[in-house]
Symmetry: C2
Subunit: 375 residues, 2 copies
């Protein structure tokens, strides 16, 4: 039943002639997504500082939630009783949840892996919890996102070959169990390709995932400390191994430069805390490069943060005002910065899509301000 419904959810609209970039349309229960797409991160059932109305105004097509965090607080059963995450947070568009694999990996000393799954201690109260592939799927089904992820082990960087191999094989066995456990109609399940920085492991992982069969394929375990050229090499190697007619999702990446490069290597979907987290730290993306708003040079600068930007922040406020709010630690600073940075990322993605459609993506690939201004 489910498999039938999920067939044909991704439609490849166009492939770029000069790069591996693609234009696509991904159908989900809560709406259609034009790819390449950037997904703002809403860990705890909120994209930090933003209201759902603001996300709509910004043109966010899909947002991300975290099964791990929502399991701990408020608890996936509360989200389920609320009628699912969409209703709980009043977001009408599509949602993707991460499986908790990456978060459990991030716990380091506080987790213990076995064939069955991962035991971990809550950072909130020290209580013990167990995530298995089946449990992760159960939690993600309760949360009710449009797209859910398989439960994987995400390896650190650097990672020796033997550990990376064992871990990748475990992730493959867990992926099978996730697929078997998944039963929710209409909800798409994506597989995650691991294998650290080793070509043969990435290939084997991709083959394992395709054999199991997923609605989309993610590349995990990158942007965890390796150099950008190694990351690009891994993306460039792995993406061509994935099914052409399924969405390709690069997890947890990255800078605007990373996004453009990864699109040119065939990636369709991204998520990253960078625009929202940097916003709260006063680090802002503009057509003139990064701006650190706390710098004294902005104290008497009565011009907009980015004169080429059409966001609410840039249409109404000056750098001097934003710096003031930031220096006195006002919540409105975090809000206005988040709106601006998300606008920058979402405009960049709109610009990328238009550039691919207009056959000028290759020419504009190294001109991020031009792509943003098209968005």
């Amino acid at each position: 039943m489910r498999k039938q419904k999920s067939e044909g959810v991704f439609h490849l609209v166009k492939e770029d002639s000069s790069t591996k970039a693609r234009l696509g349309v991904l159908r989900t229960p809560h709406g259609v997504i034009n790819t390449p797409v950037f997904m703002p991160v809403g860990t705890y059932a909120t994209v930090k500082t933003c209201s759902p109305r603001e996300l709509e105004d910004l043109g966010a097509q899909i947002i991300l939630g975290n099964a791990y965090h929502l399991y701990l607080r408020p608890g996936h059963n509360i989200v389920k009783k609320a009628g699912g995450l969409h209703k709980f947070m009043s977001w009408k568009g599509p949602i993707l949840t991460d499986s908790g694999g990456y978060q459990v990996f991030s716990l380091g000393e506080n987790r213990e892996l076995s064939e069955e799954g991962a035991m971990f201690k809550s950072v909130i109260d020290g209580s013990k919890h167990f995530f298995s592939p089946e449990r992760s799927i159960e939690i993600q089904e309760a949360i009710g996102a449009d797209i859910i992820m398989n439960f994987d082990e995400c390896t650190p960087y650097p990672c020796d070959y033997e550990y990376a191999k064992e871990s990748m094989e475990l992730t493959s066995r867990w992926a099978r169990r996730c697929k078997d456990a998944h039963s929710k109609d209409g909800q798409l399940l994506f597989g995650i390709v691991q294998g650290s920085v080793y070509h043969d492991l990435r290939r084997k992982s991709a083959e394992d995932m395709m054999e199991i069969g997923f609605d989309g394929y993610a590349i995990g375990g990158l942007s965890v400390g390796e150099e950008a050229k190694i990351m690009y090499n891994m993306i460039g190697y792995t993406t061509p191994l994935l099914p052409r007619d399924k969405p390709h999702y690069l997890m947890g990446v990255g800078t605007p430069e990373n996004l453009v490069e990864a699109v040119s290597l065939g990636i369709d979907m991204f998520d990253c805390v960078m625009p929202t987290r940097n916003a709260r730290n006063g680090s802002l993306f503009t057509s003139q490069g990064r701006v650190k708003i706390k710098n004294a040079v902005h104290k008497r600068d009565f011009t907009p943060l980015d004169p080429n930007c059409e966001c609410y922040t840039c249409r109404n406020f000056t750098r001097a005002y934003l710096r003031h709010l930031y220096m006195v630690n006002e919540i409105l600073a975090h809000r206005l910065h988040t709106i601006h940075n998300l606008h920058f990322y979402l405009s960049l993605m709109r610009g990328i899509r238009r550039a691919i459609a207009d056959n000028i993506f290759f020419r504009l690939k190294n001109d991020i301000p031009a792509l943003v201004s098209m968005g």
Copy 2:
């Protein structure tokens, strides 16, 4: 010149037959204000968590800024160079600034009073500063609010008669100096009546202020620790001493009950941090009484915070979601709570105005939910 322009800025529309409540219209350079009015507090050039657009949507008619805070950060000269506070914070409506008197009083040990003014240490970096009546007016003119306040000494509670008398007399001498120093066309200057809880001192202070002549009259030094009945007694005693044809402003008050009572005693204007500060502490005003959102009883409550409320928060979210956001310390919790509490206060004031207009204020005076629902 200025005096001429400021005549007739307040127009008394109606006086209630059963109470001392009044309906009025106050004209300012940035727009007309219907009284009785509540002014949300925007200390640092932002009503905490709110964008100017949200304040407009909420129907805020006028907001308050603090000369003391803006003098320290970002500095009144920066606000002036920005084109004034309205332009700096992108708020198009009227603004009132407090003179810094109350803030300097709040510094306790960290300030030294003299006939000339108040020396104080900055809580930010320990640097020394001096506020005099002339300096306060200079700062408030630079900031450029529509209504500014005279620089007063605000006495604590309890306060012995001798100190209260000397302080009140100093405030009167300072008020004269403020009036003499004030030169900005169109900007209204209000005098503040002090005198602690002593009738004769309140009377003398009111007489002094009227002799100097101001565009409006405030009652200061209340809600500083005294019981409500003492506060009401002071308001009831002082308000009839003030000119009938000028606005009466009760500073720093208070609860919804305080507001209704003070309106019935002839007060036209209010400011208080209560709706915004309580919001950030998860203490919410509803038609069913106060709600502490962190209480466990709300964990699985999938109903709106207030089913009778039409604010953005109540139209879109449940108590369970608000509690979740609050427990994980998400900024959106503070935002949604602030929107709700301000909506409650502003609806209450709209309801009060309508009730006075409809001659039912006396009957509804003790039914705050009814007044709010009319607003």
